[in-house]
C-alpha cells in the first residue's frame, strides 16, 4: 500500500481512551501496519519506548497524569529519541496546542476526526522527511 513507510516497524498508540486506541489501531491496520502496541498513559508509553524498539509513536494530546505534550518532551529528552517519529492527535480547534507541540518538536500532527488517508499521508510525510534528511 505504501512505498515510503516501512510497515514492519512497531507503532505505539498512546491514548487513555480504549475506544480511541482501537480506532487508531484499526486505521493503522488499514494503512498496513501489523506490529501495533498500546499504552494507556505517558508513563506506560515511556516504559515501552525504553524496552522495545518503537518506530513510530501516535499519541493523544489530552490525557490525565501526563499530557501528550509532556510525553513528547520526555521522549525528546530521552537518549536516542531526538528524531523518533511522534505523531500528535489533537481535537479540532485547539490551535494553541498544535503550535506548542510543533515548537516542542513533534514530527507531525493530525486533527480528530481523521480518515485513514489523512493519517497515512501524515505518516508518509514524516518518513519522507526522515529519508530526505539521511
Amino acid at each position: 500500500m505504501s512505498k515510503v513507510i516501512d510497515l514492519t516497524i512497531k507503532v505505539l498508540v498512546v491514548d487513555d481512551f480504549a475506544t480511541m486506541r482501537k480506532i487508531i489501531r484499526n486505521v493503522l491496520k488499514q494503512i498496513g501496519f501489523e506490529d501495533i502496541v498500546e499504552a494507556e498513559d505517558g508513563a506506560a508509553a515511556l516504559r515501552i519506548i525504553k524496552s522495545e524498539k518503537v518506530g513510530l509513536v501516535v499519541t493523544d494530546w489530552n490525557m490525565p497524569n501526563m499530557t501528550g505534550l509532556e510525553l513528547l518532551r520526555a521522549i525528546r529528552r530521552s537518549q536516542g529519541c531526538a528524531e523518533m517519529p511522534v505523531l500528535m492527535v489533537t481535537a479540532e480547534g485547539l490551535k494553541e496546542n498544535v503550535l506548542e507541540a510543533v515548537k516542542a518538536g513533534v514530527s507531525n500532527y493530525v486533527v480528530k476526526p481523521f480518515t485513514a488517508e489523512v493519517l497515512q499521508e501524515k505518516i508518509e510525510t514524516i518518513f519522507k522527511k526522515l529519508a530526505a534528511a539521511d
Binding site: 480547534g93 490551535k95 503550535l99 515548537k103 513533534v106 507531525n108 510525510t125
Partner: protein, 731 residues
Amino acid sequence: MSGSFDLQSVAADLERLALKTVMLAEDDVPALGAFLNELEALQEKLAAGQVPEGVSLLRQMGEVANRLTLSEIAAAAQALELLELGVRLLQQWAKHGGWPEAGEEWRAYRRILAELGITASASESGAAAAVADGDFCIDDPELLANFLAEAHEHLEGIETRLVHWEQNPGELEAINAIFRPFHTIKGVAGFLNLEQIQALSHEVESLLDEVRSGRLAVSTDLVDAVLAGVDLLRDLLEDVRGAMGEAQTLPVRDLAPLKERLQTLRPDPAGRPRLGEILVDQGVLNPEDLDASLAAQKALKVHQPLGELLVQEGKAPPRAVAQALVQQMSAAKTGEDAAAPATVKVDLAKVDLLVDLMGELVIIQSQVRQNPVLTALADQKLVRDLGQMARITSDLQRISMSLRMVPIGATFRRMLRLVRDLSQKVGKRVDLCLEGEDTEIDRNMVETIYDPLVHLVRNAVDHGLEAPAARQAAGKAAEGRLWLRAYQKGGSIIIEIEDDGRGLDPEAILARARERKLIGPQEYLSPAQIDALLFEPGFSTAREVTEISGRGVGLDVVKQTIEALRGKIEVASRPGEGSRFTLRLPLTLAIIDGLVIRVGEERYILPAVGVKETVRPGAEDYFTLGGKGEVIRVREQIIPLLRLHRLFGAGNGETAVSEALALVVEHEGRQQALLVDEILGKQEVVIKSLGPMFQNADGLAGGTILGDGRVGLILDLAGIFSMKDFIQPHN
C-alpha cells in the same frame, strides 16, 4: 536604532534563521517547529533591544509561520517567500544598522502579507513607530485621484459639524455625519493600500463609535483630537498626491502621537491594557509615579508618548518599557484590532450560489475519482493528483461554506438587554456571562435560533434562577449566574444555556407526566429520561409549571425548531445547583451527516442525528400484533417496526427480519425501528432540493448525488413518522 544588545550575535542568529528558512516546507512540521522557536527567541531579543520595527516584522512572520503550521494558508509557496523576504530585510537591517529604504523587497513583502490576509495594523500596534512603508500601488491613477478629491470633500464639512455637535451633543445625526466620512475614507484606503490613511481613520472612527454608542461623552479634548486627526489626514492625502506626481514614494509620517492621544480618550480601551497599568502590575513602576508622569504628559505642549517620558524621567528602565509595549501589542491583537479584519460586502445570493456550486464540484470530482476507467489505469501519478484535487476541492468547499458563517456574538448580545429587562421585572439579580462569541454559525440559521434562545433565557431568568433571598438561604450568592456559551465540537455547533439556579425537580416532573398520561403509573425512567419529559408536547403550560419545577414553558416548540434545523436539544440538571440546556446544531444547513443505507436495490440517506442505535433483531425479538403491525423488542422495550421496503416500494418487501438491520430512530420522543438491508457507510452529503414537482413527497427531505454518481434520496424522519400511521400492514 538603539542597540543595547550585541548586533553581531543577532546577525549570527539571522544567518541561522535564513538557513532554516531555505530548508522550510509547509509539510515539514519539525522544521517549522525549529523555525518558530528561532523566530520567538529573536523577537525577544529585539524587544529587549528596543527595535519595535524588528519586533513587528517578526510578529508578522510568526503569524504567517503559525498559520502555515496549522495548514491555514493555501498558498504555501507565497508564505515561504514572505518568510524569506522578511529574513532578508532583517539581515539588511543588521548589516547596515538601519532599515532598508522602501524598495522592491518591502513592496513584495507588503504585497504578500496583504494577499495572505494579514494586515499590518492587525499585527502591529500604533504604539510602535510605523514600519518604514514607503510604497503603495498606483495601479489606477484615476481611481486614486477620485479618492483624493472625494476624501477632501468629506473632510471639509467636519469642522462646522464638530462645532455644531459640541453645542448639541444629544443629536445623533450630528455625530453620524462626522463618523461617516472617516468610515468611508478608511474603507476606500484599505482597497488602495494606503495603510497610514486607513490606520488613522480607523483610530478616529473607533473613538467616534464610542461616542455614538454612548460610552463616551463629548468634550473639548475630544473635539480637539478629532480635529487634529482631520488635519493629519489632510496631510496624508497631500502626500499621496505628491507621490502620484514627482516624488513617486510616500513619505512616512509618525502617527503614533496622535494615535496615542486618541487612545487615551477612549473610556475602556477594549482588550488593550494601558502601558502604565502594565508597568504598575509588573511592579516596575509605582502608581504615584505613574500619576505624576501622566499629569506631566498632559502639561506638555508637544505630545510625547508615555513610555518615552518614563524612560526620560528615569522611572522605568528602557527594557521594561519595551517588554510592556510588546505585551500591550499582543493583548491588542487578541482584542479589538484583531476582530476587525478587512471585509468585502457580497450579495448573500451569490454566496449561496457559490456554496451550491461547490457542492456540485465536490460531487463531480468524487465521481471522476471513482470512475472505473481511471481507477483501472492504476497510475501512481494520477492517483496522487486526484488525491490532491480532492483535498483542494474540499478546502474550497470549506472556505466557501465559511463565507456564509457569521459570529454568534451579535445574537448573544441581544440577550444582554433581554436579561437586564427581565431580571428587573421579576426582581432578581442576574449576571449573564457570554462565552465563545466568536463562534461562527451559518447565517441562515441565526434568525431561526433566536426565538428558541430567547425562550430558554427567559425560562432561566424567570423560573430557573431563584429570588435573591431564596438563593442566600440556600448558601448561594444573591446574584444568579447565567451562561451563554457557544463552541464548535466536531461537525457541530454547541450552544449552552446554563444557570446556577434551583435545577429541575424530578419528582414534580414525574408527577406531572403521570397526570398527563405521558408515562404509565409504574413506568421506571432514568434521571435523563425524566428531564427529557420536559420536551414532550403537552407536558405543561407556563402557569402550571411555575408551581412545580419552574421549567417547561413551551419547550416542545423549542425542540421542534431545533430539530427542524437538524439539531438536537438536551437538558442536564442537578437539584439545587442549576440546569444546563445544550443545543447541538449542524455547522451548516447545506450539508448533513448521513447514514447511507440500502433498501432493496435503492439507496437512501438517513440523517445520522436522528438515529439512536442499530440492532440486528433475532427471530425471538420479532412479533406481529394482530392487525396492528409489527414490532421488535430492544432491551425489553417494544418498538414499532416499519419496513422501508414497503414504504417506498423498493425491492422485495419481504426480507426476513432476522436477515435485515433495524435502525432505531427517534422523533419528538417517539421511537420507531426502520428495517433496512444494510448500512453502506456514513457520509457527509450535500442536500439538493427535489424541485417543485416533488415538493410534497412525504418522507423525503431532498436528494443528493452519491460518490459514484447515483442519486440517493434523503429521508425525512418527521415525514416518515406521520406517514406510517396511514400504512396498513400487509397481513
